[in-house]
Symmetry: none
Subunit: 199 residues, 4 copies
DNA sequence: CATGAATGAGTGTTCATTCAT
DNA sequence: AATGAATGAACACTCATTCAT
């Protein structure tokens, strides 16, 4: 029987080791051997669970971002309308990164140093998030809460670009302030932008 | 007289060659020897004008981003108020990247793969842009055009994050559409966000 | 278990390959890749056993000179007095170099081209030889065989300088004569110098 | 008319610059450009007076060692017999190095790092010194002062090896003691060795 | 399943030398 | 005679990946 990779204990062990090693040393100093050592396995063992180094990173992103998005999706179901949904996206985006400092560094700074190929795969994972955001905007338009002229794609790019830039700035400032306090003012700006797109 | 590096013809030659080579091959395949060949000089000549490879990239960014921001600053002087200034920022941000496809790829995709050290230097250059944006927001508040509750930093992060995300998406879609058509709707969204921040 | 470097077979293999490559090509043409090829290992393997290129040379010197001196020390124990000990030093110095032509070239000619740093480390190893020589001189004085006015340091410098110069001349003359025939006349000169230092 | 190299002012200027640069920076950091700068000429000018870098070093050695040996030869003429001549060799060898600290470092430490080829040329220059030494020994034998069994070559190797080792030790100890005080005891040891070679 | 020793491709940088001015 | 900008060959070292045990 083939190795049931994804559910194996070691698979998780290695991914979590990778997050710590990258956060601590930076992307360029996160050698496979260092990750193996941190995970407490032999170098070769890594290759029983991952195709190659890039696969560790893609998997890392897939697992962590998957959980990240799932948490948001789950919360969506409790929301009465698109406005609340937008608020939850902003709030949970900030809250989840706040709770995982190592992961924040890895996602916002280190993984962006990856090669073009890797980033294409990252984008695949992010599509889930993109769809979720565009769905909310579409819903808001249907509900009459957002402007009928609001373009889903543009709105989503503003939403994602804004949140991403804010988290990146927070990480670059060494997380010296509480990211969650930005939640409300950011939500308000976005809501205003979406309600009245000025046309 | 010693080599007047920055103003020499070769200095520019090498930087422009670097833009083309990085755009064509990607950051990781942009070897110094390849840049030298593209510039039509010997490998060693590179080191008469640049301290090392990283210095080429920092200089590239400084020169190109400097010109980019200067052009916007110059345009600012022709604007009657903050609203017009905001419009010009959005418009020129998109227009300038539209006009320089190679540079767009380098700035939005390739240079972000650079090591942490390099990115710290990049951020220094970007500070000019940051100040310019925050100045416009402050002016808008003084003029009563933007909401008095608008936070300069948050507003700037939304502005930059939005523009950056839009250009990145455009580059990733292989520049298949006209970036400049996004100018107006984007400006309108941002203006709405800044006018009424919802408080 | 971690790689037991010093005692591994490959460690010796590489050092012996280095001796041959340096003797054959000269110090400046003894590239790491050439040594690896001669040893029948990959370039990278070298770095599992040695910190860097300089470390190969220091280790080479330490191993070979260590064995060289140990052999002399061992012989010392069979000697009745300082005169015999002096004779054994001279004799074994010449005999051991005679038996290892490649090593002679490396020690007398090639390794002296090394950088200052390396030579400091070499001197550390040579201290053992220095002490051995000075001990013999001191013993000789106590036994009344050598002049009571003989200075240990000066005597040692004459002893080492003489032997070293003779081996160097022999190597430079392409080892065309039998070094061991110099043993007796050299010993006699040194003995005369040490017996009656003229004061 | 061809450049009268050897007698030109710049020729000397460059050689003296080389001595200072090598003494100060070490052989491996004595780049041609650094020597040119120290001499106050352009890099290219060096090549009007010297064939290549090695030629600077050989010329340096030839000039300095030539003067060194000439001074000894001149003194020889004032000596009544071989014993006095031997004394003068030892004394002047130490005295001259004492008086030229930079040159001592260059001759005893730095130039020995040179490639094999260079050292062959150095040996050519040293032959003058070798002959001078062997002549003194031969004279001493004829005068009945030295043992009739003394081998000229061996005696010369002891003489040169001893002096050389002593100067090298002095340089390596950062010239912390007065080299000239070694003159008498060293002479006495050598004289004893040459008088009675033990046969 | 697990190990870890071995592999070998790939590249930024220096510096002696040249030659157009 | 003198300059100094330009040249380009040469090389130590890292690290992702493999595979015999």
């Amino acid at each position: 029987m083939a190795l049931d990779k994804k559910n194996s204990q070691k698979y998780q062990l290695i991914i979590d080791a990778a997050v710590r090693v990258i956060a601590r040393n930076g992307y360029h100093y996160a050698q496979v051997s260092k990750i193996a050592k941190e995970a407490g396995v032999a170098d070769g063992t890594i290759y029983l669970y991952f195709k190659n180094k890039e696969d560790i990173l893609v998997s890392l992103f897939r697992m962590k971002m998957g959980a990240f998005i799932s948490a948001i999706e789950k919360r969506m179901t409790t929301c009465a309308n698109a406005e609340e949904k937008l608020q939850q996206i902003v709030d949970m985006h900030f809250t989840q990164f706040s709770a995982q400092p190592d992961l924040s560094v890895v996602m916002q700074l280190e993984m962006r140093q990856s090669a073009r190929d890797l980033r294409l795969q990252i984008n695949e994972v992010l599509k889930m998030y993109v769809h979720l955001m565009e769905d909310v905007i579409e819903t808001g338009k249907e509900e009459g809460i957002f402007s009928p002229h609001l373009d889903e794609k543009l709105g989503r790019q503003m939403l994602f670009g804004t949140l991403d830039e804010m988290v990146t700035n927070w990480v670059m400032k060494d997380r010296k302030y509480d990211l969650r306090t930005l939640s409300n003012p950011t939500f308000n700006m976005l809501l205003a932008a979406f309600k009245d797109d000025g046309s």
